[in-house]
């Protein structure tokens, strides 16, 4: 029972982070700023869902596997964000600046 409650709490927190990540993705002004919520919030959201699943499962082997998945996720989401940012820089896309909007 307690275990179920902890699982629900962690999964809800994870879902909340996903919601925030998507909100940020929609609100940010340009491609670089959009990378921030999508690389950070989604990683933490997925990690906290996995913590919830680990608590629910309770078996040592499953927990070890979930930890491996988390490490992979930390590596892959950062690399993915880096790849998108790099290609944007290589295409000479100018980053959005605050002052430009005020001048218009």
């Amino acid at each position: 029972m307690v275990r179920n409650i902890i699982t629900v709490i962690f999964c809800s927190i994870g879902a909340f982070w996903f919601l925030l990540g998507t909100t940020g993705l929609l609100r940010m002004p340009d491609i670089f700023s959009r990378l921030h919520p999508s690389t950070k919030c989604d990683t933490l959201g997925a990690c906290s869902v996995m913590v919830g699943v680990a608590v629910y499962s309770g078996s040592l082997w499953d927990i070890l596997k979930l930890i491996l998945i988390m490490c992979f996720l930390l590596l892959s989401s950062a690399t993915c964000g880096h790849a998108i940012g790099r290609s944007a820089v290589r295409r000479d896309i100018a980053p959005w600046r605050k002052s430009e909007e005020e001048e218009q």
Partner: protein, 166 residues
């Protein structure tokens, strides 16, 4: 390369692969362990033959032991980063002032720099967008996010046992 060094690299790769095998098979039965040991040893030997190196040279047993503590510290930084970014996202005014800053790092070689770039991407309002030799282009969401970079750099330096003046 002397024999002892080659053997130690093989042994390290073998240990990493074998641990990975045990976690994935999720049993401690004798036949699984033996099969895992044989295949790990084969892969370690063949890797050394094909590539002349097993794992990155910077990847030593000491780094492997420090890695869990490093990941815990990093996750703590990520949680702080997320709360910070969440506040910006939920603020109706969207107080962002993004800019790309150049950061020159003292970290040597590919592996520490990769770790540093990945850590930057995962922490407060910063994304590494390009790297050339030791010059990183970092996109910051707000100007004050740039201040976190030095602390992160010293964390990665600690992981690989690198001194700033190297």
């Amino acid at each position: 390369m002397d024999r002892g060094f080659v053997f130690r690299r093989k042994l390290l790769l073998f240990a990493v692969l074998f641990l990975f095998w045990i976690v994935l098979t999720a049993t401690l039965a004798a036949n699984d362990i033996v099969l895992g040991a044989i295949s790990s040893a084969l892969v370690a030997g063949i890797t050394m033959l094909l590539f002349g190196q097993a794992l990155d040279d910077r990847f030593t047993p000491r780094v492997l032991l420090k890695l869990p503590w490093f990941i815990l510290r990093l996750i703590w930084e990520i949680i702080k980063a997320n709360i910070d970014v969440a506040k910006i996202i939920l603020n109706p005014k969207l107080p962002v002032d993004p800019r790309i800053v150049q950061y020159r790092t003292y970290l040597p070689d590919d592996l520490p720099r990769t770790f540093f770039a990945d850590s930057i991407t995962l922490t407060p309002g910063t994304v590494t967008v390009d790297i050339e030799d030791n010059l990183l282009s970092v996109h910051c969401l707000c100007p004050y996010h740039e201040e976190g970079l030095a602390g992160l750099e010293s964390l990665v330096a600690w992981l690989f046992g690198v001194k700033p003046d190297d």
